[in-house]
């Protein structure tokens, strides 16, 4: 669609989706692009599925798009759920080890999906799956999964390291900036190491 790039961040309420979106938007702004974003708040944040969309480019009209070029998922089930919104040839960057089963799964009424790779392949989507939770712990806080994934996604997003650093500094609270800078670097390097 008219040159704007759409990145959707999905996860479970409380996982820092909104902060991840804020960092991405700030990074795009630092790159001198126009940015629009939209998020659903309120009732959705109480442990429900959360979606935040960031769109950037030379010119962006709509804050919303049904189809995303890149999806960043902080939870595995939400990543699988988001496959449908990816454009063909798009990329899913997914926290492959983070599983937060919803109530229906806990009660044994529904099954948690275990076929992310097959589904991604069937959908002709590029999959970048990583142990974001482990890397976040390594960075110093399990809460930085969102930023680890941004680091991993940086390989498919058109921003320089300088621009990412500017985005992080602009959006992340100063007291946790260092942890998140480490998280970003770990996520970025993890993908290079697996050669994706």
């Amino acid at each position: 669609m008219n040159g704007a790039t759409t990145v959707s961040l999905v996860g479970v309420g409380g996982q820092g989706i909104l902060l991840g979106a804020a960092v991405l938007a700030a990074t795009a702004a630092a790159a001198g692009l126009e940015v629009k974003a939209s998020e659903v708040k309120g009732m959705a944040q109480r442990g429900g599925s959360v979606l935040s969309t960031v769109r950037f480019g030379e010119h962006v009209w709509s804050p919303l798009s049904r189809s995303a070029d890149v999806v960043i998922a902080t939870e595995l089930l939400e990543g699988v759920r988001a496959l449908d919104m990816l454009a063909r040839g798009g990329t899913l960057v997914c926290a492959a080890t983070t599983r937060i089963p919803p109530g229906s799964v806990l009660r044994g009424e529904e099954a948690y999906p275990d076929d992310l790779e097959e589904r991604a392949a069937a959908q002709r989507v590029r999959l970048i799956a990583l142990d974001a939770e482990g890397l976040a712990r390594q960075a110093g806080s399990v809460r930085s999964v969102n930023i680890v994934l941004l680091g991993a996604a940086s390989h498919v997003l058109p921003f320089s390291d300088e621009q990412w650093q500017a985005g992080l500094a602009a959006a992340v609270p100063a007291r946790v900036l260092e942890v998140n800078q480490r998280a970003f670097a770990l996520g970025r390097d993890a993908v290079q190491e697996v050669g994706s």
């Binding site: 708040k41 109480r46 089930l77 699988v80 919104m85 089963p101 919803p102 806990l106 099954a111």
Partner: protein
């Protein structure tokens, strides 16, 4: 045959309500609506009461409707602004027994601060509207409105104006309508308007509007009256009477059911005449809809858009048009029924993830205690509305901010006992829970209001409110004490810690059993805001037999494991599951040492 009565429109509506088997008439006084409640108070077989305001009046009527009793609520035009919050969402939930809202408009502002045309509310809320044009119709249309309300599962707007409400005419009484009490059936997806259920109901509303339009086409309330002149008039309400007097030879499309507009009937009028006028007071409500059909019409270009009409004004306004050449006829275009959205289908086979009450949420203990009593819990709006979802299923209704208390009062008033309780959050209580409490006290209604006092406005992200005194900048101003506020009203009130399940359970049992009206404030800070954690509950896998009592609490930290429940790391150690377990299979963790040892 019974002798005819000489009644004002308002008196006729009250008598019509009694005839239609209405059990509750309530409203707030406001010219020109006041005499409906006053007259109803003198009639047999129904309860008439003044409400503290129009919003509470409507919520009270909704409670009565749910309890299975027909209810009529009255207000002047601006009163519907006050009642607009429940009115708009009541369109989505629909009713149990019929519910009719009388809006008495005041063209000319004889006794009002503005001249708003409340016919727009019928369109706005997508509900049917009836407009009587004399006292007999005012009497007759009440029963028609209730029949529509129950058939189409919708509130009905009965719109009058000053000259209808305060004009008088002869009324022939009719045979009473039998309206037996309808059983109340719990229906969470119909009456609890959380987003996922409201989206479904909203589609039903749009479909209902098209069915109502077909009814308006067939309804004998909408009459095409033949004339002898090449001139047709579309009119409703008292404007019809003016136009009829001014142009006795004209054709008429008289709209008794003026929303939704019967398009085909409008087109049929144009088959008989070349010139058509819409005669209506205030806004071009009908005129714009006729124009949208592509039909030439004379309306507000000739007839004043402000003030009252009368036969002379109508005649002078329209007479010149009868001398002119008729407008060129065009083919009308009937608007198609609107398309409904096709929401994205979630991928098949994937578990849904609805929002849930947090682990350790203090509301859960209130719901656990509440469900030991066979009561209908009227809910309200906040995080605690999530308690209506499985597995808790703890609330029967959620209409709008503050509606729980008035709905409880209406439900209990017509049943004459404490059948319903209200469950309302602290911030919502300040928003609009206080006025219905005053109302219930004034009207001597049985009831219990449970205030879920988690010391914040949690759902929207922990904002301050008058109960905490916390302001947006973090400073703390004056705080209002809920218990003292209730006691100041004259209502019995007790406060109990929501963390102390035994005390909470006992206090609730005491309040349920006590006569009259009471408030129980169950207080404990929001677990999310306070970040309270006491470590995870420990399971004795030998004793646990997976009976499910703890799992029914809907706590995300409790999982059915292999032969015993398992506790996830999301557990905050609130201990509610320990309280409900009957086998002693769960116990609280050892207290965390005061010198730290927890997470920094």
């Amino acid at each position: 045959m019974e002798r005819s009565l000489f009644l004002s429109g308002n008196e006729a509506i009250a008598h019509g309500a009694a005839r239609a088997g209405v059990g509750l008439v309530c409203g707030y006084p406001g010219t020109p609506s006041t005499e409906i409640v006053e007259t109803a108070a003198g009639l047999e077989g129904l309860r008439a009461q003044w409400s503290v305001n129009e919003k509470v009046a409507l919520e009270t009527a909704v409670g009565a409707s749910l309890a299975g009793v027909r209810s009529l609520v009255t207000m002047k035009h601006v009163g519907l602004n006050v009642a607009a919050d429940p009115f708009m969402t009541l369109s989505l939930t629909g009713v149990n027994a019929g519910l009719v809202v009388v809006s008495a408009d005041d063209p000319g502002m004889h006794s009002s601060q503005n001249e708003q045309d409340n016919r727009h509310y019928a369109r706005f809320a997508k509900v049917p509207m009836l407009e009587p044009s004399d006292s007999q119709e005012a009497y007759d249309f009440v029963a028609e409105a209730f029949a529509l309300s129950e058939e189409f599962d919708t509130p009905v707007l009965l719109r009058t104006t000053t000259r209808l409400s305060h004009g008088r005419g002869l009324v022939v009484p009719r045979v009473p309508v039998r309206a037996p009490r309808r059983e109340y059936e719990r229906d969470i997806s119909k009456y609890v308007m959380v987003p996922q259920y409201a989206r479904q109901r909203n589609r039903l509303v749009l479909e209902r509007l098209e069915r109502l339009r077909r009814r308006a086409e067939e309804s004998p309330l909408n009459v095409l009256e033949a004339g002898s002149a090449d001139f047709g008039i579309i009119a409703s309400g008292v404007a019809y009477a003016y136009a009829r007097e001014a142009f006795p030879r004209a054709w008429f499309l008289k709209l008794g059911m003026s929303h939704p507009l019967p398009y085909a009937k409008v087109v049929r009028l144009y088959e008989h005449v070349q010139r058509v006028a819409v005669v209506e007071e205030l806004d071009p409500f009908l005129e714009e809809q006729v124009r949208a059909l592509g039909l030439p019409v004379v309306g507000k270009a000739a007839i004043p858009a402000d003030g009252e009409l009368d036969p002379d004004v109508v005649f002078r306004a329209l007479a010149p048009y009868l001398q002119r050449k008729p407008p060129r006829r065009r083919r009308p275009v009937l608007p198609p029924a609107p398309k409904l959205s096709s929401p994205p289908q979630p991928p098949a086979g994937l578990p849904v993830r609805p929002p849930v009450l947090c682990p350790g949420c203090s509301h859960r203990s209130v719901y656990a205690a509440l469900r030991r009593h066979r009561l209908t819990p009227m809910g309200d709006i906040g995080c605690y509305t999530l308690g209506a979802l499985p597995p808790l299923l703890a609330l029967d209704s959620c209409l709008c901010m503050g509606a729980s208390v008035g709905m409880m009062a209406g439900f209990n008033a017509v049943l004459g006992r404490k059948a319903a309780v209200a469950v309302i959050g602290d911030s919502t209580f300040f928003h609009s829970g206080v006025t219905p409490l005053i109302d219930a006290h004034y009207n001597g209604v049985e009831g219990l209001v449970v205030v879920l006092d988690n010391r914040t406005t949690a759902m929207t992200g922990h904002q301050g409110h008058p109960g905490t005194g916390v302001r947006p900048d973090g400073s703390v101003g004056n705080a209002v004490d809920i218990q003292r506020l209730c006691e100041g009203i004259g209502v019995r009130c007790a406060t109990v810690s929501a963390d102390d399940y035994a005390a909470l359970d006992a206090a609730l049992a005491r309040e349920v059993a006590a006569p009259g009206l009471g408030v129980l404030v169950a207080t404990a800070p929001c677990v999310l805001a306070s970040r309270r954690r006491a470590g995870a509950v420990v399971v004795d896998t030998e004793r646990c037999n997976l009976c499910g009592r703890c799992l029914d609490l809907g706590c995300p930290a409790l999982v059915p494991g292999d032969g015993a429940v398992a506790v996830t790391e999301a557990c905050t150690g609130c201990g509610l599951c320990v309280e409900v377990c009957r086998r002693g299979a769960l116990r609280l963790p050892e207290p965390v040492p005061a010198d730290g040892g927890g997470q920094p």
